[in-house]
Amino acid sequence: MNHAELAENFIKDGERTTWHDETLWFVRKKRDLAAFQIPEWEALREAASQIKHNGLSHMHEYLIAFEEKATANGIKVHWAMDALEHNQIVHRILKENSIAEIIKSKSMLTEECHLNEYLIENGVDVVDTDLGERIVQLREEKPSHIVLPAIHLKKEDVGETFHQHLGTEKGNKDPQYLTEAARQHLREKFVSRKAALTGVNFAVAETGEFVVCTNEGNADMGAHLADVHIACMGFEKIIPERKHLGVFLRLLARSATGQPITTYSSHFKKPRPGQQMHIVIVDNGRSQQLGREDFRNSLKCIRCGACMNTCPVYRRSGGHSYHSAVAGPIGSILAPNLDMRKNADLPFASTLCGSCSNVCPVKIDIHDQLYKWRQVLVKEGHVPFGKKVAMRAMTFTLSHPGVFKTAGKMGRKMMGLAPFTVSNGLNPWYKQREMPAPPKESFREWFSKNRNGQ
């Protein structure tokens, strides 16, 4: 199913859609409040973008430096070309240590690689420990948001899931009560499991350390109790120097949830005595994206989720409609790189309003890239006929002002005289929506009348 079909499913429950929309907008507003308190916010974004660009342009040497330092620090570094190799490496480390049960903290990379499925098929029991991820795991769903994995669910849903799986009282949907139940359930896992897998937010070339940010403390509870810690990262997590963490840690949580910083920003530099620490550095299409001039900036992403929270399409279509590990505007740029045919619909799931680019802490030109992907996808023949005709018509109309004028007039007339011609099956925007009353005159008509009147 494509984005439009999946979104249609999501918006069937109008009340829930509105809740989803408003809740994410509320998170966006918290981001604004946090950003407005920092007079140097724009300078920070610019610095972050430049640091990341420097990182991309020196990726080869930074990765080698990182590997050298990390190895000297006692960390074992692995390289994975693609998702399968990543999964095999993780599984091999577990097998070598005779471990069949692991705990995981949040890692969008492992979602991208479908690590859980792979490990489970190979007889390894996997428990996700981020509360939101645990909820969706118990429901056999996928996270719908990179920062707020269970944002598509209501507390009633969580109450029912916990009643079934953790034995909480039926009908109890109090978030405090449910969180406490998860705390008890997962503590038992933290103290008994021998291997912990975490993601990586930043990896520092200069020092060979990596930083993991959480609010819950789950990554640390896992990593510091386990005998084996495996950290997985896409190579683009590399930043040049330790002091650059100052820039990114100031931006990340403020952009994500409006917090001044996450509760925990853990700098892992060496394994603790007796512990094994592994880092798996993954490519999985990233080196290819690095070579696409128009799209390489997407590799600057620090996964804050701000572009999703602000996106009018994401907010009203839900993360699952993007059928990709990373949803929303940034996911729609990343996914076609991996599989153009399968993800050809995603760059079209946008109004190109540009709100995403405005909030992005590393100043990725998200909406421009979405527009560029559309052109690439049309050229490569991955776009269905109807959309192609519409796009051609749009390009034609926009580049011929005379046609634009007539088309607008026609449109307004058509809606007034025969609204059914606009609200038919060929016009997907009309589904679940009432078309607004057409304005009597366009801005263009209004402007020329008023200008002439002067």
């Binding site: 809740t23 509320f26 007079p39 300078a43 610019e46 430049q50 640091i51 660009h53 420097n54 991309l56 342009s57 020196h58 990726m59 080869h60 990765l63 080698i64 994975a80 070309m81 190799e85 420990t129 909820i135 707020l148 669910l153 507390k155 969580v158 978030p175 449910l178 969180t179 406490e180 503590r187 933290f190 103290v191 020092t207 609010n215 819950e216 403390g217 640390d220 509870m221 510091h224 109790l225 190579f235 330790r242 002091k243 100052g246 820039v247 840690l249 949830t257 001044p260 910083i261 509760t263 925990y264 920003s265 700098h267 530099k269 394994p271 603790r272 490519d283 080196s287 690095l290 390489r296």
Partner: protein, 195 residues
């Protein structure tokens, strides 16, 4: 195929022309008093601040708020009368029943109420997470304004594990309702010491 070689070659081929690093040395704008800011922010993220003169005040606090049977640990040697101070080499799993852990930080950041802790102050890496309640002693004059100032101080310090910790563990994963005490400590108190 050697994946390392393949990945590095692909990157070398595809990376853009080099661009320089920005100068971030003067980026911070500090228009606040660091002590006031630290207090306001910590309270805003669910922590509490208690001003103290010396470790006697901490001892009094522990006696008033925790009972005999509750396990209290600390890395601060002056607190031996109320806390175990010899747990650093125990199996980390044995810390599971700790009710209160009292540490001392060498640096705090005003803009986000984060405290910088490395292994000598942590005792064990898991200690600030596994405890039900956490308290940290901090000298007022160890407050810096922003993260940039913090990393300037950390510079190229050597550590195995370092942590910025700000407030109690929390989650809002159920309908965005904030709940304190997700997996880490349920409460977070900073004893702010005047010197």
């Amino acid at each position: 195929m050697d994946s390392r070689k393949y990945i590095l070659e692909a990157i070398a081929k595809n990376q853009p022309t080099p661009t320089p690093l920005p100068d971030i040395s003067a980026i911070a704008v500090v228009n606040y008093d660091v002590v006031d800011k630290f207090k306001t922010i910590l309270e805003g993220i669910g922590g509490q601040v208690i001003e103290i003169k010396d470790s006697e005040d901490v001892i009094a606090y522990v006696k008033a708020n925790f009972s005999e049977g509750q396990r209290v640990i600390s890395t601060v040697s002056e607190l031996t009368s109320v806390a175990e101070t010899d747990w650093q080499t125990q199996d980390p799993h044995t810390l599971e029943n700790v009710e209160l852990n009292i540490l001392e930080a060498k640096m705090g950041v005003a803009e986000n109420a984060a405290l910088w802790l490395t292994e000598p102050q942590l005792g064990q890496r898991v200690a600030p997470f596994i405890t039900q309640n956490l308290a940290v002693i901090l000298d007022k004059n160890n407050l810096v304004a922003t993260m940039h100032h913090a990393y300037e101080r950390i510079a190229d310090a050597e550590y195995g594990f370092g942590l910025f910790l700000a407030g109690p563990s929390k989650t809002a994963d159920i309908e965005q309702s904030l709940v304190l005490g997700a997996h880490g400590s349920r409460s977070m108190t900073v004893f702010l010491r005047s010197t």
